[in-house]
Symmetry: C2
Subunit: 334 residues, 2 copies
DNA sequence: ATGAAAGCGCTAACAC
DNA sequence: GTGTTAGCGCTTTCAT
C-alpha cells in the first residue's frame, strides 16, 4: 500500500480510501490510485486490515464437518460456501473424522485464525471447551448433532422422527422382525435414530427385546459384516433400517452377495447416490443438507451482525422416498 | 498477549517465547505463563504473528475445485486437508462452478488473505491473471486441468489415455458405433477425453466422421436428454462413453427409462458411487483423486519450503474397472 | 479532499 | 533467562 501510494503520488490513507470504496476522494485521484494498484498487482491485506478495523472482523468462517468427503457433509459445505460468497467471506473447511481430539484441535486452529464464526459438527455433548469462546461473543452454530448443555444455535435433521417414519413404513408393510444398523453410540445422531427406531416399534406394540440393534457400525465394511452376520443368524430379520449413508452402502453389498436384495427389505437414513437406479430402488429417509448448511450460515451471519436474541433450534424435516427396497414384503409373515 | 503477560507478571516477549515453544525460558516462568494462558483462554493471533514472522507465512492454503459437492473434488479436498493437517496449515476451500469469472474472484479472495500457496482447478488456459502472483513467488499447483502457457506444477489424470482405454475396451467388445457424451469444450479435460476417444477409434480404423460426439453436456439432466435423443435417432449407438461422473448418472437414467441398460454398453469416466451394485455393474475408468490431492499438496509445500526446481508435471494413472455395463455386446454387429 | 500520527497483536533484533 | 524497541500493513482519529 505504501508503494501504491508512492507510485500514485498520494498519501497512504488515500489509497486506503480508494481501495475500500470510501467517499471523499476525487475521481482523478482515484483513477491514479487504481492504475498504480494494477501496475503493482496490489491486493489489500485482509489480515492487516482486520487488525485495525472496528469489530476486528476477518471475513472468515470455520466449518467443521464429519468429513468433506462424505456426500452429506459435502452438500452442507457447498451450501455454507454459497451463503458466505454473497458476503465475501472465505470458509475454512475441516474434517472431524468423528474424533473428539481432532474436534478441539480444529476449533483451536480456527480460533487462532480469528474466524468470525464457527459452524460445527461436534462429538462433544457439552461444548465445555468452547465456553470462553462463547462468552467472548464468537458465534457458534452446531449442525447435524445437538449439544446438550450449551447455549448455541442449532440446526439438525429430525433424526428421531425420520428413523421412526422409516420404521413405521416397514411395520406397515407387514414386517415384525426389523434390524437396525447404526453408527457409534458416541455419535449423537446414531442414538437419536435408534431411539426413533425403538419408539416406532414400541408404538406398534412390537416387543423390542429381541430386536437386533447393532450399534458401532461406522463404515461400509463393518456394515457389510453386520448384515452378513444378521442374515446368517438363527432368526434373520425380514427388514433392515440402516442409519447412515455409508452403512446403507455396506448393507446393500451384503444383501447383494447373499442374493437377498429382493427378499429382505431395506430403508436407509440419508440419501444415497443412484438410489433410484438400483433394482430394487433404495427407499431412504432423505435429509436436506442444503437447507441445513444454508440455515446454519444464515444464523452465524445474523449473530455476526449483532443478533442477540435467544439461541434458536432449527429442525430440518426429512422425507421418506419410496423406491422399492422398503416395500418388499416379509417372506414369512406368520 | 499483553494481558497474559500482565497476569503472569512477565514481559510480553516471554509470553511469545513460551507460546511458540522457543528456548531460554525457565520451567517456572513457563508454567506461570501457561496458567495465565489458560485462565484467559488465550489463543495466539496467527494473523498478527504472520505479519512479523520471517517469510510472512500465514499457514494457510487456497484450494479451488470444480465444486466441493462433486465426489471427485471432495476426495481431492480431503486429501489436501490431510496433508495440510500434518503441517498445521488450514485450507480455504472454494468452488469454481466452471465459471471463469468466479475463478478470478476466488483467487483474488485467496490472495487478499495472503495464502501461502494455491491449488487450483482452472478454466483459464493461460493463467495470465496469475502472472504477477507467480513472479512474486507464490506457489501455484494446477490440478485436474492443465494450463497451456504457465510455468506451474501440474497434477492431472491421464485423461486422453483413460478415455482411449475405455473406447478400446468397447471396440474390443465388437462395438463400432460408439457415442461420446462429454462436458463443455471450454473445460479442458472434456477436450482431452474426446481426443482420446477419437484417437482410439482412429487407431482401430473406425471412421470417426459420423460417430456421435456430443459436447457441452454439463449435468445429469442434459446427459439424460442427450442419451435419450441418441437412442431415438435413426442409427442409435450400440455403446456410449460418458466423459464425467454426472454425465454417467444422467446417461444411466436415460438407458434405464429406455429399458436399454442391458442392451446398450456404457463405460463411464470417473468412478460412480454404487457402480458395483447396479445391474449390470457400471464399468468405469477410475481416477485417483486421493493421489491427485496428496501429490498437489506435497508439491505446494515443497515449493513453500523453497524448492526452486523446474516445474513438474505429474500424471496420475487411471484404471479400467470392469463391472458389466462395458461388456455388453452389440446387438446388430454386422 | 487529503494526510500524519497512533496503534491493532505480534516477532526480530538487540539489549541487559 | 528476560525485557525493550521497532515495525509488519493497515484503519482510526484528528488535522489541515
Amino acid at each position: 500500500m505504501k508503494h501504491v501510494a508512492a507510485l500514485a503520488g498520494v498519501g497512504i490513507k488515500t489509497v486506503s480510501r480508494v481501495v475500500n470504496g470510501e467517499p471523499n476522494v476525487s475521481e482523478e485521484t482515484a483513477a491514479r490510485v487504481w492504475s498504480a494498484v494494477r501496475a503493482l498487482d496490489y491486493h489489500v491485506d485482509l489480515q492487516a486490515s482486520s487488525m485495525r478495523r472496528a469489530g476486528g472482523r476477518t471475513d472468515t468462517l470455520g466449518l467443521l464437518v464429519s468429513s468433506v468427503d462424505n456426500p452429506f457433509a459435502a452438500a452442507i459445505t457447498r451450501a455454507v460456501e454459497d451463503v458466505a460468497l454473497t458476503r465475501d467471506v472465505a470458509v475454512f473447511a475441516s474434517s472431524l473424522d468423528d474424533d473428539a481430539a481432532r474436534e478441539e484441535l480444529a476449533v483451536e486452529a480456527f480460533l487462532r485464525r480469528r474466524v468470525d464464526g464457527l459452524i460445527l459438527t461436534t462429538m462433544s455433548r457439552s461444548l465445555s471447551y468452547l465456553r470462553p469462546t462463547l462468552e467472548r461473543g464468537t458465534p457458534v452454530v452446531c449442525i447435524d448433532r445437538e449439544p446438550l448443555a450449551a447455549d448455541v444455535d442449532v440446526v439438525v435433521s429430525d433424526n428421531r422422527e425420520g428413523a421412526a417414519s422409516a420404521t413405521r413404513h416397514l411395520i406397515a408393510g407387514g414386517h415384525r422382525r426389523i434390524a437396525l444398523i447404526a453408527d457409534r453410540p458416541d455419535i449423537q445422531t446414531a442414538v437419536d435414530r435408534r431411539d426413533g427406531f425403538l419408539e416406532a416399534l414400541g408404538g406398534a406394540g412390537i416387543p423390542t427385546l429381541d430386536i437386533p440393534v447393532v450399534m458401532g457400525v461406522h463404515d461400509p465394511e463393518s456394515a457389510y459384516d453386520a448384515v452378513h452376520a444378521l442374515l446368517a443368524s438363527e432368526n434373520p430379520p425380514t427388514a433392515v433400517v440402516t442409519a447412515q449413508n455409508l452403512i446403507t452402502l455396506g448393507a446393500l453389498r451384503a444383501l447383494q452377495e447373499a442374493g437377498a436384495r429382493h427378499t429382505v427389505a431395506l430403508v436407509g437414513f440419508d440419501e444415497v447416490s443412484m438410489g433410484d437406479l438400483l433394482d430394487p430402488g433404495v427407499t431412504v429417509v432423505r435429509q436436506d443438507p442444503q437447507s441445513i448448511g444454508r440455515i446454519a450460515a444464515e444464523r452465524v451471519f445474523a449473530r455476526i451482525d449483532g443478533d442477540e436474541s435467544a439461541s434458536q433450534r432449527h429442525v430440518v424435516g426429512t422425507e421418506l422416498v419410496i423406491r422399492g427396497s422398503g416395500e418388499i414384503r416379509p417372506r414369512d409373515s406368520r
